[in-house]
């Protein structure tokens, strides 16, 4: 059974410096770097962070196959975003930077300007540098440790435990779903596209109803098991998977803190605005 079930998050315990960091560290670094990139519109700063995040991606030995699907989605998103931004506001760059250097007239009074190109490239690079950071965080953090770090930054432990519990039982429910679906298909249920839309909806219910009933049994059992071992009796709880902060964690937090401060400083002292303006 387990061979086909697979793991939901392809979190793999590989031994790299990134995996060894505590979940809390990774969450803090992720937030620092994300804020840095989100705040700044300086393409130079963003490029630095982007190179940094690709280096980290490399260090954490994440395989392309693990993130392939996500990369495709992100690429589609960035491309759509780029096209739409241009169609809805082709002069936005001009507005921001206050100059207008036309590269090429397009149609009507719409033109491609250097300002617009810089603005849009900057914006897309922002996404391109933040998303690898998110992937690193998700793929190198044990889901329970993720829950424990959520609770350490102030999320109530019942809510963060729910995250871990969902990850624990998701594969079981997937397996139930597959078993039920196969058994119903044997009785003649047609799930293919040949069936009419209304029928397909009705047919989906044939799987969902048994799935709900078998999941309800499961939930009663889990909640009894948790009660019997004292879940939620105290205001706080400790975590088996929590990792202690060590030198590497402090270094990582300080490093990402410095990057954050540097970004802000560049904006305040050098650019005197969130935007880097090479046109004046």
């Amino acid at each position: 059974m387990s061979s086909e079930a697979g793991k939901l998050f392809s979190y793999d315990m590989v031994d790299t410096p990134i995996h060894r960091l505590s979940g809390l560290t990774k969450l803090i670094c992720f937030l620092f770097l994300t804020f840095a990139v989100m705040y700044s519109y300086d393409v130079r700063v963003i490029l630095v962070v982007m190179v940094f995040s690709f280096v980290v991606l490399r260090v954490s030995r994440i395989k392309f196959s693990q993130i392939k699907l996500m990369v495709i989605y992100v690429a589609i998103f960035i491309l759509t975003n780029m096209v739409l931004s241009f169609f809805f506001a082709p002069e936005f760059g001009v507005e921001i930077y206050g100059t207008r250097h036309v590269i090429r007239e397009l149609w009507g009074d719409v033109a491609l300007t250097q300002e617009q190109v810089l603005y849009q490239v900057t914006k897309q690079l922002k996404y391109a540098s933040v998303i690898p950071l998110g992937m690193i965080f998700l793929l190198t953090t044990n889901p329970s440790e993720f829950a424990s770090s959520l609770s350490r930054v102030g999320v109530h432990y019942k809510a963060s435990f729910a995250v871990a519990l969902t990850l624990r039982y998701f594969p079981d429910i997937q397996r139930d779903y597959r078993d039920i679906s196969q058994a119903q298909q044997a009785r003649g249920l047609d799930l293919s596209r040949k069936a009419k839309f209304v029928d397909r909806f009705k047919n989906a219910l044939m799987i969902v109803v048994p799935l709900i009933f078998s999941s309800l049994d499961r939930i009663e059992l889990i909640s009894n098991a948790m009660d019997l071992r004292g879940f939620a009796k105290a205001k706080t709880r400790t975590w088996y998977t929590a990792k202690r902060f060590n030198r590497a964690d402090y270094t990582a937090v300080i490093l990402s803190g410095l990057i954050f401060l540097a970004t802000i400083s560049v904006s305040i002292f050098i650019n005197q605005s969130r935007f880097y303006n090479p046109f004046i």
Partner: protein, 571 residues
């Protein structure tokens, strides 16, 4: 009894009624249990034995509400004056579903769960988890996820998860229900060893009497219809009529002794096979064995289903099935056995067309069925899942059974007689207009079988049809399947249940790591040491009895027992 020691658990005139029920589930229970005792509670389904367990661990009255009269004290304090959390520090509960109660993402995390909730600091927690894991032999598997652990390992994890709290009382609610025979045997040994070492009070709720009596227990409490009807030691209980009257299966060797005309009394210490003293009754057993005529009827019907050189792999690298060659004769009833992960479910998925074999041919009456769709195959081969809740999707019995026919666009005029006929076969005619929610588990199981039978399959595959059922329900379901089988339906049972193999299926196919390691008589499968270990079975106690009686060929003795029973039941 030592008067200075007050009982750890004491029920006094205790009656409990769930708010949702019209009648009390437990009546006037008086029971006291002393520190360090090992108690087994047996009783058929619905006798109130799980409810008794819930009262001790605090699920009653804290999670399940109801009315209590009389009182229950644990360590001298009324449970109503404690909270479920207080009780969890005294009573550790291991539930029957080792997978469902596994709340952690790894074994270590699951063991630590109670400590986490107690705010135990990191270092102390890791130390205690490690120490307890060593007690149950899980120390090398602390980082494994539940998907990588076997049923037995998950149960050990659960046990460690309550031992970690250093509780005084260990409560096991049907610990054997989801385990194969070999793992169940080990579980009983682990429970016993822990009690020997720690002196904890042990409370086991289980209806599989013989399996628990693999090791010594102090007292056996028998519950029936919410009342305690016996509180005895094993020898006295086994030699009484109580087991027969309450519908609890007596140990198999005791049945054999009775067939042989031996007077099973306390003097021969029949409670455990290890203590049994045959002495002069040995001759009776030998004589009985000699008197039984062989009754092996070869099934000479044409082959209905054939698998030839089947191999299969889910991912292209790890083969799940290899060199599978099986011929099944029409009208057979046979068992497919093997450890979890041996390939049994995969084999049935190939037959139903849910998965496609990589090489080889599956033939139905000599015709290759490779081109048949899932829907078309279902009219030849029907499959019934273990959990009826996974199959039932309609609120009314009639609609549920009619579903497969409606999917095939058969007219309502034709559907009605077919549904009525199949409900009659399944003994469900009186319920034709009932909602499914009003049925018991066993009746639901029948509904799911009816909903498959209505398609007229020639072959029926059932996955663990009797799992978790008490002796009466087990017998009901199996006798029902015998009836179906007599109507000409070939029945394949995927099972761990050794009684089922012994009593109902003359032939057993054993899978191990994707290979067929045996395809032979059930009596051979249950007595061949190699096959037993490859399929996680255990030797039947009949084999030990044969040895004790000095019968050289144990397999023959087991076969003789099967033949004798078959003649007795006129099958």
């Amino acid at each position: 009894m030592d008067m200075e020691n007050q009982p750890v658990i004491e029920f006094k005139n205790f009656t409990f009624q769930y708010f949702s029920q019209a009648e009390p589930t437990l009546y006037d229970i008086n029971l006291s249990i002393n520190e360090g005792e090992k108690i087994l509670v047996v009783g058929p389904s619905g006798s109130g034995k799980s409810t008794l367990g819930h009262c001790i661990n605090g699920l009653i009255p804290f999670a399940y509400k109801g009315e209590i009269s009389g009182c229950l004290t644990i360590n001298g304090v009324d449970t109503r004056d404690k909270s479920i959390f207080d009780l969890s520090k005294i009573v550790g509960t291991v539930l029957q579903d080792a997978d469902g109660q596994f709340v952690g993402l790894t074994a270590g995390e699951d063991i630590a769960f109670a400590l986490e909730n107690d705010n135990v600091p990191y270092d102390a927690m890791h130390q205690r988890v490690r120490r307890v894991a060593e007690m149950v032999g899980m120390e090398t598997l602390l980082d494994s996820s539940p998907f990588e652990l076997s049923g037995g390992q998950k149960q050990r994890t659960s046990l460690a998860g309550v031992l970690v709290d250093d509780v005084d009382i260990l409560l096991f609610d049907e610990p054997l229900a989801n385990l194969d025979p070999a793992t169940g045997k080990t579980a009983i040994e682990i429970i016993d060893d822990i009690q020997q070492r720690s002196g904890k009070t042990i409370f086991i709720i289980e209806h599989r009497l013989e399996d628990v009596l693999h090791r010594y227990v102090d007292r056996i409490i028998v519950l029936r219809e919410g009342r305690i009807i016996a509180d005895k030691d094993a020898h006295s209980l086994v030699s009484s009529e109580i087991l027969k009257d309450t519908g609890i299966r007596e140990p198999l060797y005791v049945t054999a002794l009775k067939y042989a005309g031996v007077n099973v009394s306390e003097e021969i210490k029949p409670g455990y096979i290890a203590t049994l003293e045959l002495n002069e009754t040995r001759n009776a057993v030998v004589d009985w064995h000699r008197s039984i005529k062989k009754d092996w009827r070869e099934n000479t019907n044409p082959t209905i289903l054939e698998m030839e050189d089947i191999t299969f792999s889910y991912d292209g690298s790890r083969t799940v099935l290899q060199d599978i060659n099986i011929k099944i004769q029409e009208g057979e009833m046979l068992s497919l056995v093997g450890k979890n992960g041996a390939g049994k479910s995969t084999l049935s998925k190939l037959l139903c067309g849910f998965e496609k074999e990589n090489t080889g041919v599956i033939r139905y009456r000599d015709a290759d069925i490779a081109d048949l769709t899932i829907k078309e195959r279902a009219e030849i081969i029907g499959v019934v899942l273990q959990n009826p809740n996974q199959m039932i999707s309609k609120p009314m019995i009639y609609d549920e059974v009619a579903l497969g026919l409606r999917f095939r666009n058969i007219s309502e005029e034709e559907i009605r007689p077919r549904v009525e006929k199949v409900l009659k076969i399944c003994g469900l005619s009186p319920f034709i207009k009932w909602p499914i929610s009003a049925l018991s588990y066993g009746q639901k199981k029948r509904v799911t079988i009816a909903s498959i039978l209505v398609l007229n399959p020639k072959i029926l595959i059932l996955d663990e049809p009797t799992a978790g059922q008490d002796f009466r329900h087990y017998t009901d379901i199996m006798e029902f399947l015998v009836e179906i089988n007599k109507l000409g339906v070939t029945v394949i049972l995927i099972t761990h249940d050794m009684h089922l193999m012994l009593e109902y299926t003359p032939r057993a196919i054993v899978l191990s790591n994707g290979y067929i390691v045996a395809d032979t008589k059930a009596s051979i499968v249950l007595t061949d040491a190699d096959v037993i270990s490859s399929a996680n079975l255990k030797e039947t106690s009949l084999y030990h009895l044969a040895q004790m009686a000095g019968i050289a060929n144990g397999t023959q003795f087991v076969q003789a027992f099967i033949d004798y029973e078959r003649r007795l039941k006129k099958r």
